[in-house]
Symmetry: D2
Subunit: 343 residues, 4 copies
């Protein structure tokens, strides 16, 4: 049940209604819409809509037909803006998150962070722990990798995102990263979703390879129902008869049904670099709020998936094109030079 308050509703009226509903056994979430308060009441107990509608300050009471409530546009008409340091994800600026797939060494992280920062990326991404399909594959540098990433992010003024593999890692991740990433294979690891929802930290949630839009929004709902509202959705391709197909339509569809920012990760769709760049361009043209790009300063020496990582010069060219495409769809990506000049 969504309770839309009048614009003129007082804080007292809002908290009065909240108290009433809590006493009825419901859990209440409040949306931070700019125009008016919107409450979302979740719970098993049947409550007569008319009674709520009759309360003072209430504009309308809606039944949300979608199974997700907090993630839906009905609950929050404006796209959520997630502010981390001086970066805003979900605003007019298209945010690029870039970095190595896997942390290999301090030197590697520093070199790549310098490159992505110089070209206008705002967020550093990098894998410290690796979810590998085989128990015998390289599992990452672990906490040491997180330290390198944090050091590099700080030096180059970047926000940091890295993938957390299991609930027990969350506390140590929180010391290092700004955004907790949940990998595609964990999208329906409900105990991890619930646990992460208890920490008030932005989350980047990857869509599972076989997940529908609704299932993805329900996974976000698991996190949000724990009180952690700052969730970004990440489209990175679905399993099809071609193995992995980037679902470009998911971008407008997610944005139609939900207020959460949508990030696109074209790295998994391909083993051709031209394809990565083309899909990145397409994602911004389709309305993505951000991009995840794998960059490697020496892709031919990368420990794995070097073919999916862009070398610096190709990343630079891509960023130039993205700035023009962003403008074409009423968004922007400031050129680092312009920013430097205006600083």
């Amino acid at each position: 049940m969504i309770i839309v308050m009048e614009e003129s509703a007082s804080e007292k009226q809002i908290s009065g209604i909240t108290d009433t509903l809590v006493r009825l056994g419901l859990v209440i979430h409040r949306s931070m819409s700019v125009h008016r308060a919107i409450l979302c009441a979740v719970g098993d107990r049947p409550v007569a809509l008319e009674n709520i509608k009759a309360l003072e300050g209430v504009k309308e009471v809606l039944h949300v037909k979608e199974p997700y409530k907090l993630a839906s546009r009905s609950f929050k008409p404006e796209t959520t803006e997630i502010k981390i340091k001086d970066v805003t994800i979900g605003g007019r600026e298209v945010i690029v998150m870039a970095g190595p797939r896997t942390v290999e060494s301090r030197e590697q992280v520093m070199a790549i962070a310098e490159c992505v920062s110089r070209n206008g990326a705002k967020v550093l991404r990098g894998g410290a722990f690796k979810a590998r399909t085989s128990p015998y594959a390289f599992q990452g540098l672990g906490e040491e990798g997180l330290k390198y990433l944090r050091e590099a992010a700080d030096r180059f003024g970047l926000v940091l995102v890295s993938e957390v593999m299991e609930a027990s890692q969350i506390p140590s991740f929180i010391k290092y990263v700004d955004i907790l990433e949940i990998g595609a294979r964990n999208m329906q690891n409900f105990s991890l979703l619930e646990e992460i929802g208890r920490f008030n930290k932005p989350v980047l949630l990857n869509r599972g390879a076989a997940a529908t839009v609704e299932e993805t929004l329900l996974a976000a709902e698991y996190i949000m129902s724990g009180g952690s509202y700052e969730v970004m959705l990440c489209e990175r391709g679905i399993r099809t008869f071609l193995r992995n197909t980037f679902d470009i339509s998911a971008i407008p569809v997610f944005k139609g049904f939900s207020h959460l920012p949508v990030i696109a990760d074209p790295s998994h769709t391909t083993s051709m670099r031209d394809e990565v760049a083309a899909v990145a361009q397409a994602a911004v043209a389709a309305g993505a709020d951000g991009l995840m790009i794998e960059v490697h300063h020496e892709p031919e020496n990368a420990s794995c998936h070097g073919m999916q990582s862009l070398p610096p010069e190709q990343f630079e060219q891509l960023m130039r094109r993205l700035r023009m495409i962003a403008k074409a769809v009423d968004r922007h990506m400031l050129s680092p030079l312009i920013e430097a000049a205006s600083a």
Copy 2:
């Protein structure tokens, strides 16, 4: 076998080699590359590569590992430019093909043709015969529909494309249309492909809903091996667990493997208009040479699939955005006003 000739090779050398190979039982196709002649020899007979290599004027002889030969970039390094009247498909200009999914009446066709022409579309598309999944569904106006389309195309200076359903229709289609379209369900109707290859008419070949990139290029090869080299590939989505998913990556992949122009048709991926526009934008950003867009002047009254057709005002807004995106990827779409001004 691909035989790349020296730039300096004379016409006599080229025809000498051609004759030799024909006598050996091979079929020879000649590519119209700007720099040099490239021959493709197709057939069962084993021919010693070294013997061919030794002939005068021959630069190199390649074995094409892909099963398609004439459609491959090895045979023809430059993208094929298909010139129809004053329109060039496959050049720097991104070509928009727009019109009604189904011809309903003369008035409807005229109204839509005027709208799409005014907004910069160069090709009129419209279904006269309809391939319907059910034998009881509306099957289209038939030849009468073709007449309306031709009349509208002529009045507004548009090139015309329409889908041919079966081999017996080809002769009457050729009287009316400039481009023969083969629908996704007929992509592996090999007898239709062969038949159409006998007419020297540009063909727009839709990828089948479950076709791989290779199978699509082999379908093009069927047409080309009949001598009809002017084939365009049309990406319009594949069957996945979400039903239809537009395969945005197919655009750079087709263009990497083949010299044939690639058209994107976002209409089948969706039932939301915003999704159609977003995917159209994405396709141009990913490098498509053209777009197919369903436009209807009164979509709420369309005989079918009204939700996939853009109304005129949304089409106009889309065209404005596409012009900016085209520029961002080193292509262009002239604004109709600019064209008018320069005329």
Copy 3:
């Protein structure tokens, strides 16, 4: 609209109603149900159901919600039995159709026909014309192949099925074969479906690789609406992220929605012979009315797909198991020895 007649309805009442509906512009099909006549009226014209219900001899009038009518169980409650010579497809006997994927020579066809006949197959299957994805692949022996197949079928008392590729081939096929097969790639080649529906000959319709159950039944409806009611459906796998997955559930689902016999073809799902046999066994256990099995007397020398063809000894072992499984699901497959003894 389905009109179920009383058991006691006279032939005169039935033809009276038929005439009335025909005069109203509808096309009438009559089902050969054992208990009573069932009519299916197809057409655009709206007819008041109550008026029809009031006519004498009418038990009930149903609206068929499925888009297919003639193929639905509502129109014909009993499974259709297709009788060809002394073979009945759709009865209690599970029918095995076996033979080479491709006809290579007269000797090959004779050797394989002898083997499959000796082991209890009732139908000889073999490809004379081949639908090949590439224009350069072997296209089959053509009409010569049909002659060999017919000769072999006659010598060993087998019914013959072979795939027709295009409408123009139908008349010559009809001279040789007992069952016309439509391949998966032609399942939505509507002009071929319509054309084949004009000949009164049993049809084996392969499900397309990306076709839903409903689309397959609509393809059958295309054939049946032309008056050719003897259609068998063939499940042979769908395109998935594993490429081809045999859809075992389709067997009970087809049989639930339709009265048409269902044949299973496990050859395309695999490149392992053990998998072919396992899926064949599964199909009979799931209720298939028949099987298509590729058998080759020298699979290692087969011109193509040798790994999918069973050698004679494995075919023999499979047939023994199938006889026991058929019995477990209240069907039967007579052992050739028993048949010989009882003769």
Copy 4:
């Protein structure tokens, strides 16, 4: 690296080689093949195969090309038999695991356990904790549910399997259940797989909805590399354009590549009861070592998914058919009456 010992190799030779390899930094697993010892050495360190081959008692040294080692048939030629109380999974008997999808009450569990036991099921299955896609859906009775299941299993002499949702639940599950089940959505929850591998308890591992055969065997390898060798694989359908398609071919394929027992769960493929029974029959015919069947004594009152649960009478009929099909494929399922008589 797989080291196959001579049949005549002494225990001393085997442990000598093991010690040598452990000193070289490898982890050694020993297969319990009936004929001879087979060792699997896992690790990063390069070891010269010839040196190992030269050691006494060694028959051959193989490189396993599959990324999974312990799960492969090369390591263990005979199918693994998992013995729990008087039940053997992976032997000639086909084992039926049956029970409610979700535990609703003590009475419900008792009634269903009685029914499934009486009809020959050997394992009771039931969900105490539920992984639900939505955070607002019923999450199960939890530990209380486990108690009811244990009580029912004990009373009717059944082995018990139930799904564990997260690592922290394992210790309490171990008090109640005989087999730990890992759900499809957790198949690539690698931290859960590793944790469960530390307990020496049989595991039933569900294939993920978008997992390949190789990924599933690698998930099993995660568990086995922790020392827990008693893993069963459960096929329950993959995501396709039809949503969920039971992959019948996976049964022979898993059994070809791996020695682990394969269980089939047809409940998720369908919403028609006839389809559940047909697929169950098919799975046994294709060689499954066991079945998971949802049974509910009052399916119309089930808290969820009632349509996928068989009512007692349909379960009884299914078991009769399964006994006959098992025999047809050289397996058996004893009838409860026969067992009672021979007792």
